[in-house]
Amino acid sequence: MSAAFVVGVLVAAGVFLLLRPGLLRVVLGFVLLGHAVNVVLLSAGGLGRRTAALEEAGPDTADPLPQAFVLTAIVITFGITIHLLGLLRRGAGGPASGADPMDDDNDDDGDAESDGDGTGGAGRPGTTGRRR
């Protein structure tokens, strides 16, 4: 019951943040959604059983499998959050930081590879110059 409540609040807050403008809110929204899913995963193994696994099998032994799942999921979410923050940093340093991400239909050839402040370490002059 309490797990369901926590998941509900986390998902509500996460979706609210996702629908707000600004990439930072989106990142935070995904962090909250990720937590919500982790709680779902943990409760899928049964929250009432608390005895340490691998000691002795009994009716109260916790299910170790969902905990392993959650650990894996946390690592993945962490990595992707870092990537999103990197995108945010790069976007903020670029010339059109206020641009709506949906509104870039005219910039699809990528030949204007002026890589902002070059934080991504990409777009070396030699590479782009050769391809033109």
Partner: protein, 487 residues
């Protein structure tokens, strides 16, 4: 033979790690990447030969028992997809040398990790590992998409990451629900569970919804044409061969094993398939760059594959498997043509300065072959695939699906003609250095892939036998279930 299953997953991962340890050595990176993918291709071919008779290769990594083991299994479908994707990746690597993409930092290690994730997703036998391997595949794709920098790429990169992250979150929630309702996540243990238990069907429905986002099925397709066209064409070719196909493969596998091909859901799959076909092909009509048109056609063509699955007859599934295998090759050939066009002209927009057919006849030949195959004209593999699919719809009495399939392939042909007349016919612009910049490494891969499509159309018998085997295994997954559960 079971140890071969490790190669498509572990091989590229180890190679990527080794390459990362040797930065700033482009020559070593190239040799390493090509050697790794060749090994994966050979492993795929060996698996394909071994499984073509209906045998299965199963491996529990580390020898752990039952449900806690990391299971890998290959049947004809998995082995076929591993082989075909390895071919496409090799083609893309060659083209990346020509287009200069592989000189971008970390390009080759990222491609290898992407390949490892896709190979693993084709071979894994449980839902949680499917989630992990899809993530392994997606994380490098985030970086590859936005590798080149620029504002447009950053924006599309955000949309791409956000959509796929939402899909992954949903996938994980679905896996959690499946575990909560059944206590297992292995495909073998779950066999038929969604057919027998409505709660499992709902939980698995969440997984399928998330996979629908990944494979860009209408109405979950909108992110694909927004994001793919901003990446470099070689990268898009790679994505088109791996990413959405993994999602579709997982949909097929889960529907066949966990739902046991439950006829109660076939109308839903059929409706999604027809909608994808129509929406994708109509979306392409209004576009005016080669990559954008081709990206919309991805949505449409995936609908064809799903239509065969929705019929779930032996003929329909065989048609779907054959369609999927040949379509991966054809689409990669088309995107690699776009890569060559862009390398030559600086853009792949249809802006009226054509004449490529006279300057680079080999490229024109590759594009013509792949385009005709995509539209479904003989003697290419696309014709045979569409013919088999139409025959399956006729046998099932799905006349509406048949009419839609024929009409959509006509509109596909129109789109291809539009690209052809805008880029390849006509007089080349004066003082053009276009032809010089399109080297053999750019023309070769699409030509080879288009040639494979022609070969798969003319000498189709082995591939059709394979598709029949895969279809039989999908219709009756008992052998697969026995093999992966070890019972």
């Amino acid at each position: 033979m079971s140890a071969l299953l490790l190669i498509p997953v572990v091989g590229p991962l180890l190679a990527a790690g080794a390459l990362l340890a040797l930065p700033n050595r482009p020559g070593t990176h190239r040799v390493g990447a090509f050697a790794t993918m060749t090994v994966v291709l050979v492993a795929g071919l060996v698996l394909l030969v071994r499984t073509s008779g209906g045998a299965l290769a199963v491996l529990r990594v580390g020898g752990w028992p039952g449900p806690i083991a990391i299971g890998l299994a290959a049947d004809a479908l998995s082995a076929l997809l591993v082989t075909v994707t390895a071919l496409v990746v090799l083609g893309c690597l060659v083209a990346a040398v020509g287009s200069g993409d592989d000189r971008r930092p970390y390009f080759l290690p990222l491609v290898l990790v992407l390949t490892a994730g896709a190979g693993g997703a084709f071979l894994t036998t449980d839902l949680f590992n499917l989630f992990v391997l899809i993530e392994v595949m997606l994380v490098p794709s985030y970086v590859l998409l936005s590798l080149a920098g620029g504002v447009g790429r950053g924006g599309a990169g955000r949309v791409y990451v956000a959509t796929n992250l939402l899909g992954s979150t949903l996938l994980l929630a679905g896996v959690a629900l499946v575990y909560g309702t059944t206590g297992v996540v292995g495909l073998g243990e779950l066999a038929g569970a969604a057919r027998d238990e409505p709660t499992v069907a709902v939980a698995c429905g969440v997984v399928l919804l998330a996979l629908g986002v990944k494979s860009a099925l209408v109405p979950l397709h909108d992110w694909l044409p927004r994001t793919y066209p901003v990446a470099s064409p070689v990268v898009v070719a790679l994505f088109s061969g791996l990413l959405t196909k993994v999602g579709l493969y997982a949909v097929i596998r889960i529907y066949a094993v966990v739902y046991g091909g439950d006829p109660g859901y076939r109308w839903l799959l059929g409706a999604v398939a027809l909608l994808s076909m129509v929406v994708g092909v109509l979306g392409a009509v209004g576009e005016n760059s080669m990559r954008r048109i081709l990206t919309f056609h991805m949505v449409s063509q995936l609908g064809y594959v799903l239509l065969g699955v929705a019929l779930f007859t032996a003929v329909g599934l065989a048609a779907a498997v054959y369609y999927l295998a040949q379509y991966i090759l054809v689409k990669a050939a088309l995107f690699l043509c776009a890569a060559a066009v862009r390398a030559g002209r600086g853009t792949d927009r249809l802006d009226g300065s054509g004449g490529l057919a006279g300057q680079r006849p080999a490229l024109a030949l590759a594009f013509a072959g792949a385009a005709l195959s995509l539209a479904g004209l003989p003697p290419f593999s696309g014709f045979l695939a569409k013919f088999l699919l139409l025959r399956a719809t006729a046998e099932s009495g799905a006349w509406l699906a048949m009419v839609v399939a024929v009409l959509v392939s006509l509109v596909t042909l129109l789109s291809m003609l539009k690209i052809w007349s805008a880029l390849f016919t006509g007089d080349p612009p004066a003082s053009s250095t276009v032809a010089r910049r399109i080297g053999p490494t750019l023309v070769g891969p699409p030509l080879a892939l288009a040639g494979l499509s022609l070969a798969a159309g003319l000498a189709a018998a082995p591939l059709l036998v394979l598709a029949d085997t895969a279809a039989a295994e999908l219709r009756d997954p008992a052998g697969y279930v026995r093999a992966v559960t070890g019972r």
